[in-house]
Subunit: 239 residues, 2 copies
DNA sequence: ATAAACTCATTTATCATACAAATAAAGATG
DNA sequence: CATCTTTATTTGTATGATAAATGAGTTTAT
């Protein structure tokens, strides 16, 4: 087991969480009993049980007397939990997963842009603008374009001033990372994409929610169309 | 402490979770120490620590030596966790919270309808249709209209065939319950609303994603407009 | 006087052990 | 054959002990 800065319980949580998300333990499978986990990880029952409880709290497993510890149906998994998303990323994301991410991103980001146009404060607008500056700098190699991209999307979510959208920053971050993994280029954001981001910001700043919504929606539908095409090609190859 | 079917740990999790979500413990506050919680609930350290770990896993608290147990910033809360949503509902939902729910529902349900039109299986369509039958029966008092309403929205989410949307059923359920609390009528769904649901189903069945999207979007924007108006009135009264 | 090093008290982290409670499966009973 | 009882397994809970982390206060060196 890799020794990290985390405490014992956290380490076990991550070890088991990763194994569940990458399919080493499948839905319905029984995990080793508490006693077995103790010997496997060479730790006390306290640490083991606390790890089991944390995974239970994240909706991944269920633990009952005599029945043992089992992986529950994936519809119960807290897919928006920051740890679970990390484990998703550590698995082997395929094009289908990328599509799932994009489908939800499309819904979220368009409406977030709409809300930002309605409710963004001056500070919110400044935050979005500075992320655009970073993104422009990135085209000259003065900043990390991927970081700046994440920053932009986060600042729009914040500007929605809706706690639910704000909590979904984790999700967007992971979605962008999965996306980056499938685009075969060094830079995360092209000049055209940068321009699209600028347009959205302008609509938000000018308090034009519908235009912001449409701009975000069109961009995302285009991205999604590319992935759909890739999936079609892949499917025609294998059949 | 109410004695429920749940085990000790779960009971403490719920007691503390409710207190955090209703503001009895505010962000930044220190909860009682492990030792104090043991005496307060009259339970062992084992049960206490496991409860603390579960709340940590849900992103509500942080627990470190010497520092104790503190409520973390709300942006870290797993607002899409089924338990957390339950505690949100048990708090005092106000019009602003209802608006937050509606804003996200709008984004989700429109796109879910779009995806359902693309990817719904025959079984998915049957499920949506049967929920509409229940809803119609409800107008004759033969079924619970609220249950049927939840059923409809769940079946559309399922028909999206996207695990992220499916995981958000909890969220939609809670959103509908909050909504019900603020509409001063016995029945959850009016005849007009029932018709709107039928339209969305027709578009999904006819594989017309854009029409399904627009229909869902228009309905939701109308609902949101009503709430926005109520908030405006409320604000004008208090100032 | 200031900053660095040290001490100390508090709180969580971890371990070990014991017994209780739940429950699935096997066996006994009618 | 069905039902009840027993039994073994696994998690649930309690207790006590020690380790490790850390914030705050104290001392020490410059």
């Amino acid at each position: 087991m890799e020794s990290s800065h985390r405490n014992l319980t956290q380490q076990v949580v991550h070890e088991l969480g990763k194994k569940i998300l990458n399919g080493s333990y499948k839905v319905g499978d029984r995990l080793p009993s508490e006693a077995d986990l103790c010997t496997q990880f060479n730790i006390s029952r306290t640490a083991t049980r606390e790890a089991v409880k944390m995974l239970t709290a994240k909706g991944l497993i269920s633990s009952r007397p005599r029945q043992g510890i089992t992986v529950v149906e994936s519809k119960h998994w807290n897919l928006f939990d920051v740890d679970v998303l990390e484990w998703v990323l550590l698995g082997k994301p395929d094009l289908y997963l990328l599509r799932y991410f994009l489908q939800l991103r499309l819904a979220l980001e368009a409406e977030a842009a709409y809300l930002a146009a309605l409710y963004a404060t001056e500070a919110d607008l400044k935050a979005i603008e500075s992320s655009l500056v970073r993104m422009k700098d990135a085209t000259n190699g003065m900043d990390d374009t991927h970081e700046a991209d994440i920053d932009f999307h986060h600042s729009v979510l914040s500007a929605s001033n809706n706690p639910f959208f704000i909590q979904l920053k984790n999700f967007i971050t992971t979605a962008l990372k999965v996306n980056l993994r499938f685009t075969n280029r060094m830079i995360a954001v092209t000049v055209e994409e940068y321009q699209a981001h600028c347009d959205i910001f302008e609509y938000i700043k000018n308090k034009n929610p519908q235009a912001a919504f449409d701009a975000a929606m069109i961009t995302q539908r285009a991205t999604l169309a590319i992935v759909n095409k890739q999936i079609e090609e892949q499917e025609s190859h294998t059949t």
